[in-house]
């Protein structure tokens, strides 16, 4: 018999299959973070090292890829395969959770590619911290993916609506998280806004963890922020999926 776990497994493996069939798609999808890594990192002031910059780029690749993932669902809503899946006995939450879980795979692969590319340029790999960092990032990405799918379900036949909202939110979230440049150097109002951005805490946690500082308090705040986004995303997403028709 089936249950929520097996149903989620069916959806997850279906989502993952095109990625496995064409693994290079994962690398093609990370062009933007790589551009920032190649063309922005050299512009960093001397006091900001590659060690500081790389965790931000790992989070950025998660943010870019995962926030767009709803467009895959949007396309399936438009072509009809989402409707076909709604008529199967698959449990509605599984239709969302399976999809969102799959987002973790490209994020981890992309993180590995970024780290591997930076090792020759003096980036120090602290394995335990990096792995813990990826766990926190995966939880965050589960929530972000769910929110992207929620946006797709809400936009339905209005593709422009999906992209408008996604693009409008993407860069403020990215800049306010201090991903490219430290927010501490900015004016007070910007720093205040940054404290309201859950992504800020994730980025701070990643920086500490990628540097091998596992026991930092930022690990806890980062984990809390990631779990909050994850839980909120799954809650909103499964509700949207249950109402989907």
């Amino acid at each position: 018999m089936t249950n929520l776990v097996t149903d989620t497994g069916v959806v997850f493996s279906r989502e993952l299959r095109p990625v496995l069939r064409n693994p290079f798609s994962v690398v093609f999808a990370m062009v933007q973070p790589l551009v920032f890594l190649g063309l922005f990192a050299p512009l960093l002031p001397d006091d900001l090292s590659l060690q500081w910059f790389v965790p931000g780029i790992v989070v950025m690749s998660c943010l870019f890829g995962t926030s767009m993932t709803g467009s895959n669902l949007l396309f399936e809503i438009q072509t009809g395969s989402h409707e076909r899946m709604l008529v199967t006995p698959l449990r509605r939450p599984a239709l969302l959770i399976g999809r969102a879980l799959k987002e973790i795979v490209p994020v981890v692969v992309q993180a590995a590619v970024i780290v591997a590319l930076c090792l020759p340029f003096g980036f120090d790999l602290h394995l335990a911290g990096t792995l813990l960092g990826l766990v926190i990032l995966s939880v965050f990405c589960l929530g972000l993916g769910s929110l992207s799918y929620t946006l797709a379900l809400a936009a339905k036949n209005q593709e422009w609506l999906f992209w408008t909202v996604q693009q409008t939110l993407l860069f403020p979230l990215l800049l306010l998280a201090g991903m490219l440049l430290p927010v501490e150097a900015g004016p007070g109002w910007l720093q205040a806004l940054s404290r309201w951005n859950p992504l800020t805490y994730v980025v701070e946690a990643e920086r500490a963890l990628f540097a091998g500082d596992v026991w930092a308090s930022t690990t806890v705040t980062g984990a809390i922020a990631a779990v909050a986004v994850g839980a909120f995303g799954l809650l909103v997403g499964t509700r949207a999926m249950q109402r989907s028709a």
């Binding site: 299959r17 895959n72 396309f75 399936e76 072509t79 395969s81 008529v87």
Partner: protein, 326 residues
């Protein structure tokens, strides 16, 4: 297999379906016919658990569509208007996922997928990305998706829309075969009159969210329209003279006289003999069998073809008038 009671669905202030009472027995092949916006698809979406009814009830394959959604979903197959297989996936992969969605083991799903690929003639394209398939191939793949779990009841929403005549004929043949082989109950919606006429033993005409007729195509046509002989004369006076002599129901419009009579194809030769004997030979003769469009016109005062039904350029005519030059 299906039993609905006053099934109703409103969208905001639009009453899409207004109290449909429908019974479909196991093994039937039923066509829901009506113009776009008549409520066919909305009815189908309620029967397939996609949307809940505003009021009324429906039991599908023995279970209530609201209270026992999963039970219904296990037992039905659904082929919607779009493509069931995602364009980014490969056909075979989608078939296997679909099987697993119905609780099949991977090996079983793989075996069943291979079987359907074979029987729907998809062997050459099953391992290609769906987006590279032609419209006809995608539609056959959709059919395979809907059949993966060998459902006892299959719903098809506008199955042949957008296909060229050859692919439509091919698809219809697959559907008919499926039913002959497995006794599957089939409910399809269509706005192609010839399709309903050719395939279904029972046609349910829907208009403005209500059932307005429900019978075999032959009986619908006999009852509501019948056959006609259309005579064209050189002069209006000839047409009027003939009209006064024929013992059948008629309608005259200028030089054209339309005679309504059952069995028109058999009677036409005798009629022509009479006309010659009277010295009133017609310039043109056409025997027109009743079509479902005529039935719809008779029932609603509107033609289905004008009802906004999108028809492709390569579409075949629904009527095949037997023209006889005299």
């Amino acid at each position: 297999m299906i039993e609905t009671h006053e099934l109703t669905r409103h969208f905001k202030d639009v009453q899409a379906v207004r109290g449909i009472n429908l019974t479909v027995a196991p093994g039937e092949l039923v066509a829901l016919l009506g113009p776009n916006g008549a409520g066919k698809s909305t009815t189908l979406r309620m029967l397939t658990t996609l949307i809940p009814p505003t009021s009324g009830t429906a039991k599908v394959a023995g279970h209530d569509v609201v209270r026992a959604q999963r039970e219904v979903r296990y037992r039905i197959g659904y082929i919607g208007q779009g493509n069931g297989a995602a364009h980014s996936q490969r056909g075979r992969d989608e078939l296997i996922s679909q099987g697993r969605a119905y609780g099949m083991k991977v090996t079983e799903a793989r075996r069943r997928a291979a079987e359907l690929i074979e029987s729907l003639d998809l062997g050459a394209v099953a391992d290609r990305t769906v987006s590279t398939l032609s419209g006809g191939q995608r539609r056959r793949l959709d059919i395979a998706m809907g059949l993966i779990h060998a459902p006892e009841l299959l719903f098809l929403d506008e199955p042949s829309t957008g296909l060229d005549p050859q692919n439509r004929a091919n698809l219809q043949q697959h559907i008919v075969e499926l039913r002959e082989r497995y006794g599957t109950t089939i409910v399809l919606t269509t706005h192609y009159l010839d399709e309903a006429d050719a395939m279904a033993e029972r046609v349910i005409v829907i208009d403005h969210g209500r059932i307005i007729a429900d019978d075999t195509p032959a009986r619908l046509k006999d009852e509501h329209v019948g056959d006609r002989i259309i005579l064209g004369f050189a002069h209006e006076s000839d047409a009027a003279a003939v009209a006064s002599r024929v013992p059948h129901k008629f309608h005259r419009s200028g030089t054209e006289l339309t005679i309504s009579v059952p069995g028109a194809p058999r009677l036409v030769t005798g009629l022509l003999d009479d006309l010659r004997a009277w010295g009133l030979p017609p310039a043109e003769v056409e025997v027109r069998r009743a079509t479902l469009d005529d039935v719809f016109l008779q029932l609603t005062g509107r033609s289905l073809r004008e009802g906004g039904a999108a028809r492709s350029a390569g579409d075949t005519e629904d009527t095949e008038p037997a023209l006889v030059e005299v």
